[in-house]
Point group: C2
Amino acid sequence: MDPSTTTGGIRSAADLGRVIRERRKRDGLTLVETAGLTNVGVRFLSELENGKPTVRLDKLLRVLGALGLELRAGDRDGR
Amino acid sequence: MDPSTTTGGIRSAADLGRVIRERRKRDGLTLVETAGLTNVGVRFLSELENGKPTVRLDKLLRVLGALGLELRAGDRDGR
DNA sequence: TGCTTATTTTACCGATCGGGAAAAAATTAG
DNA sequence: CTAATTTTTTCCCGATCGGTAAAATAAGCA
């Protein structure tokens, strides 16, 4: 199961941070590089990946986009 | 296709707002009610549903949770 | 193993903005 | 036209985030 890059449900900032970091690593990118191509600070990116709960949506979306990720919303029970 | 409550990809705050409002309406809830059970202000909720890009993640997640929604991240191409 | 280098985390400062409460204004429903 | 719902102000404290530098970790290599 779970063949593609689908993640388990994201219910917390920590979950999200995990997903992002995992993807970034998979792409062999450093924080500095990623920050550069997303127009966010390195510090922000680090905090984001570490599950800071109060990050702003726009910044978050920018990072996801740059990493080729996209969000989806659905019932908690899943697929 | 798309049998469950799966949404198209969420790439902007506007997309997200749309999903949230749709779901809230489907549940027959008012902003005041929803704000109450999510511990966020009515103003925030209104702005969120109208696509304010700078909302904070924690508040956002709280609302999604209260509405029985969950986020998922995957490749832009989808499933 | 120990050392060097690459990467990440954290501390500061300052400008900017988020969002709660409450009420008025505006839009929608009945 | 009246009641209900949503949007928008106002006041305002507290926190975010960028840039930068230093500290702490992780990686890489002989």
